[in-house]
Symmetry: D2
Subunit: 458 residues, 4 copies
């Protein structure tokens, strides 16, 4: 029976032990827990709260435990409540009663807050690295297909021609916001909570800043009651992950659409596609479909976390234990999704001709006609009306715009001159020559900026 | 390399294999998958689609695999995509090429739909059993404390005295709605999808009703495209689970409040409480706190599932694989919560005196005074105003209502007579003698009904 | 100042009045509130709790108020907290002090529970009617295009040919489950809560069953504390609405895809499409896009309601006021969406040739080839492998399957005979002749069943 | 009929007009829309795209419209689709055909993106101001009750004594994170999207930076396709609002608990409390309860927004229209909640004696006893065990810890000396003298820091 139950006259029933134990999932915090304990022991010795040799013994024991767990040699006892207890129990076995000194000036409430912050910092750093990797794939794909023209869509209807590179860089922008968001969240994660005790602070002359420095934290927490019950950083990571997965779900949707028969703009590399058990001809974008679905999972985790925290009085309540699986799952899902997307995007085969053919259809240059009329002095709204009439006429005749003769144009406005016939996909794209526009010149600039952002040579 | 990849020229990268594999979690469907396959093989033979001896071989092989998995002797190969593939691969190993006949007239799309329905049916049945168990604990606790009076609260303020049994039976009602809701959901789960093939139905003369009967289904699905892409039953289970966990979270909140120092109405049995690592005097309602938090988790699963299904075109898409973990987690969480609550409630120690003392304070009989005036001919609204004045007066004097003399009452209304002094907690409770009211007579009836519902002798 | 504040020494600040008032949104409950009050008054008189003439006066007054509100002549006073108070204040103005008798044996807690149940019952009935209407549109569209063939998709890849009618009937099935689900929810809504008082039941000899009959309820609630704090019926309506909107979002997605240039399977009627302000050639499926987006709104309402109820102790708490806007918005959104979808679907123009052309491409008959080999004695798995090889070969040669000669087939298996050349889209569809399959015979049966369900002549 | 429908042969049905119109809610963007249009017109003239006098006419017209709307004199026509169309239609009425020039080099897609960003920036600034206001109320309440001692809770059990000021400052910390979070979100909101056109950028020589400066934006967007379909800033505001409302829900829960009979720590000011219609003695924390419930509403809005964006292909889709109501409701809810909380907290009456009495009960000094033993050389774990035994003994004897004699202490450990008898609530609090601890000295420092942060004199 654990020390914690000392005042209780009988053990928890088996179902309660199983219900309350976090060991099956918080064991993955072992590295963070041990790192925190080592820094704590070092500080206790430095401050003279425990003897240096005791600290040394404890640190040696913890180091051994860490190695054993890493090597899979550690036997986690099911009856232990959590990773802290599991490690402490092992420490008692290894170094005897001196292990009891480690918990001085510390509570599990500030200890788990520390572990979660160490974990989240690490996860955020890894997330940032993988975001960069996917940004790089996008940039490379854009760079390698700089001239490719495709239809730009609104309402899934071809609207205006754009460069594929411009389309891909839209995702670069989204991911760049994700990068900023995770960096911002990191500032609020990077706060060292140890020393908060159970809730009120500890009654020892500890050195919190020393511990913070040892563990690479930027700040120490400023209110003990807040520190043991704050899970904002967990929610904020998950909210950022939710937005990021939403971005991936949009990219996924386009990969699915573009590789469907109706579009046929891309072909997935075989390493990133799957087949069908009953339909041998199929090549499915399962990776993209799964990622699209997994957005739901992170949204769900976010809801779970927000619900857990709703209306919790101060300070620590056991509900907080529910923070772990939601965070772990969010981190794992996001990291894996970013990884497979990097590979999937990098290995896409672009069907340039299909894209360009699609960009040449469907009255996609109608806006350009309207702009043409404006350039000749028509008001925009009238120009719009005239073009609409023209498109209606062409549709009825079954003609593309470039199959119309000047005389037909002139029926709709006397402002049409011969130069209207030189409006083309290419002229349309080149005309959008402002910051953020799809003109080749602008896309080139955007690519250069993007490469600078991700630290690549221009 | 699995057959599924036959048309693909190279294997999926490791990260893709890991990303797409469902084996780590769908392996728990092995019983359902094998039961479905056995029924399918039996039907194929009955219909003459495969030979009876082939069916026998296949069924023998499947039975062996089932036993091996149960005994933990089965080695799941990580590179296999899902439980269907894992079992099929093993079947090939065990019985050779004849294994290849099992997939006749079946696709993984209808197969997984079947497995999920079998699982959900089983889970629902178990859920219903545990709901009954918790209802029983509530009834027993109510029965054993039939006379105990406590304050009834609105806005967490003592409002009117009620019987503890009445309060507990409020939860019986909630759980009874849960029972009905799960039973209703079950009707829509109890539908046999096999025969839908990949999406269009199969091109064999199969007997779907035979398979349904073999597996204990009530109906067969009516549209193949719907059948392979329908996960309503998963969502509906999870929505019902969400409402049920919400009920448990309310009960949890009351257990936490009632065992807090400010209320001190109950004491948790030691087997259902935990202590503190730093504060030896504490006895915490961790079980209730965790359940309160776990409501968030099921809400999250519900959001995940609804998000996954949003805007999915027909028919099967890989996004659907995301249905499993959300469902499994919801089932596990709800079943475990119901189990620990049954024990926790059954073992509560009621602090009768504290409840009754609290029920005697705080002008809790004010409504009864107003009702008294109405019975003497005052309109309700005037009676309310008079009582409010009286309570204000008593508060100022620092007196309880039963410390006021008749003359003091009369200052506020001439309708007060001597019998006003006999208004008491007891009279208040007895007066609420209508169906659903807290009068002992009504609570007795409600208990009898409740026992009948859960099948106990009155 | 309202009576409710009588014991309070000063009025609520303006910001509090605004924050707490529900009148801006609960005013739409006026009909339900007045109907409930009339039934209550009638019962009070019948039971001799108030005089018949008082009841008559009250009922007359309430009837007048109802008419005035309906005609927009009623002036709602901003300082009144809710619809109950607004109507009561007006009743005092109209009939004087006798108005004060109406609140006898009633609290706002059971009153609002009643109003919400009346509203939800009505909303459910209307929802059911509109579901039928949309089912009818689907059936008519299927009936009118019974022969049309299209590609059936998995993973948005053409997989097997199906009948358009079969595809449309998949949505009929989804909506039929919605019908059943709303009907089931209705059973738990159809419960009369009046008589529960504030929380403990009322201390008057009321006749709850009389009130239930007057208002058309099937049952009376069985526990007063539950009755005033139960919002399961609100959540259950919203959960059913969430699933239903998810179905609509799937149909919306297909309408958007099918009317996009890549598919070009349908044309929206102009009355259900919108144009573009800048691109005159566009015809956008805005209605479908909005409905797709509005799924999010109902999911959000569901989360809001579940969150509100989480961990609320018994009995009434003001948090419950947050049930209204979420419910109202869910009802309004769902009803409007069902209505516009009925019209949009009914007016779709099917581009039959485009659908059929697409169904003839992309090796969509590969499964049929595999089935062919099985019929000649091959195991399914081998047949699958052979077909995969064949498709690979054809792809390489740039040939469609029906452009291959028998000798080419025979290279992959000696089992191929001359009759393989007669495999066609038509034969593929006809072969899937089992309940729920896409064969014309089955679809005809399904249509007949569907018409029976919605009460149309076969 | 609007210009937008020009190519369509018939008007939208009434139900479609109602379904698609955003005017009922986006009309509140009129100021932002007009400000954007004025800046756009000014830029068009500066660049020579339209004549200066045309720009002047347009700007004059827009200014008049703005005033009219503000004064409520503007008649919104129901048949107009949105605020842009409503204002444009009016502009045509006011200034004639020249109005048609305003839409040059602009689309409704970038226009609404601009309006939403202007609105969100403004909302964020107001949110920050109200956060400061509530922080100020907390600081003042803490400052005015610097000496008040209360029980600190974990698991809603008294755990260790703390200063009330320390408890209140925990909320200051939470709100400070909110401040930082909203400031970070603001950076990503503060981006000017005009010039993105419908999706590809505009084909005019515009000056985007001029417009940005005119409107007070810090940056211009870098990719047109992203800019018209990005709603990250809406989601990010709502996510931050969700976390902030979660904080408020926690504070609300404590206000409710503390004003309940079981705690009786505070009394709400009458201006922030409500009474009961049937129980005149009640004083309810309705404001806090509503805020607690309203957390659900913002969580719901967040889910709605994330769901809307899930899997949307580029670029603009009508689903995006669903961003508005969710954002508006989140802003309104959060601003109103912050406002009422500022007043509610500022006007709380602290029941100092009740707090202090509660802090003296329930073996709340057990941790201090354990710490005492550690200071005498015991290991922490042993000290914990000894104290647990001691508490068990005292509980059994029905004695408080300070009612035990030294000899009784010594039965549990020889390390107990006379000075153990001087352990008190006060000594316990003073001992927690580290950054973030509850010692008066630390709380004083924390107050000083807090005042500096909110710009108050120390």
């Amino acid at each position: 029976m654990s020390h914690i139950r000392k005042r209780l006259s009988k053990p928890a029933t088996e179902s309660v032990v199983k219900y309350t134990s976090s060991l099956p999932f918080d064991r993955r915090l072992y590295r963070h827990d041990i790192a925190g304990s080592i820094a704590h022991a070092r500080m206790l010795a430095k401050q003279g709260i425990i003897h240096q040799e005791d600290a040394d013994t404890i640190i040696k024991g913890l180091t051994d435990i860490s190695r054993e767990i890493k090597q899979g040699e550690f036997e986690f006892k099911a009856e232990l409540e959590d990773i802290h207890m599991a490690i402490e129990a092992m420490l008692f076995e290894l170094v005897g009663d001196v292990a009891g000194k480690l918990h001085t000036a510390r509570s599990r409430n500030d200890q788990i807050a520390l572990d979660m912050r160490l974990f989240t910092k690490e996860a955020t750093t890894e997330t940032l690295a993988r975001l960069r990797q996917l940004q790089q794939s996008l940039v490379e794909m854009a760079e390698g297909n700089k001239e490719v023209v495709m239809p730009g869509y609104t309402h899934l209807q071809p609207a205006q021609p754009v460069l594929l590179a411009h389309h891909l860089l839209a995702y670069f922008e989204m991911l760049q916001r994700d990068v900023e968001r995770f960096n911002d969240a990191l500032k609020r994660t990077d706060v060292m909570p140890l020393g908060s005790g159970a809730l009120a602070g500890v009654a020892y002359d500890i050195d919190r800043n020393f511990v913070a420095r040892e563990l690479g934290f930027n700040r120490v927490s400023q209110n003990s009651m807040d520190a043991v019950s704050d899970r904002d950083f967990v929610i904020e990571y998950t909210a950022a992950a939710g937005i990021c997965m939403m971005h991936l779900s949009r990219l996924a949707e386009e990969v699915i659409l573009w590789s469907s028969a109706g579009f046929d703009f891309i072909e997935l590399d075989d390493a990133y596609a799957t087949g069908s058990s009953i339909m041998p001809q199929k090549k499915n974008a399962d990776v993209a479909e799964l990622a699209r679905g997994k957005a739901g999972r992170i949204y769900g985790n976010l809801v779970a976390l927000l619900t857990v925290m709703k209306a919790l009085p101060l300070s620590y309540n056991r509900d907080l234990q529910e923070d772990k699986e939601a965070l772990f799952d969010s981190v794992d899902t996001l990291l894996a999704s970013l990884e497979v997307f990097s590979g999937m995007i990098a290995s896409l085969k672009i069907k340039k001709e299909n894209m360009e053919r699609a960009a040449g259809r469907d009255y996609i240059l109608a806006t350009d006609l309207a702009d043409y009329l404006v350039s000749k002095g028509e008001t925009f709204r009238n120009a719009h009306g005239i073009t609409a009439g023209l498109v209606g006429y062409a549709t009825e005749k079954g003609k593309a715009l470039n199959q119309l003769g000047l005389s037909e144009y002139k029926r709709f406005s006397p402002l049409f001159k011969n130069d209207v016939l030189s409006i083309s996909t290419k002229s349309s794209i080149s005309a959008r020559n402002i910051t953020g526009g799809t003109a080749p010149q602008q896309v080139k600039k955007a690519l250069a900026k993007a490469k600078k952002i991700i630290g690549e040579p221009d």
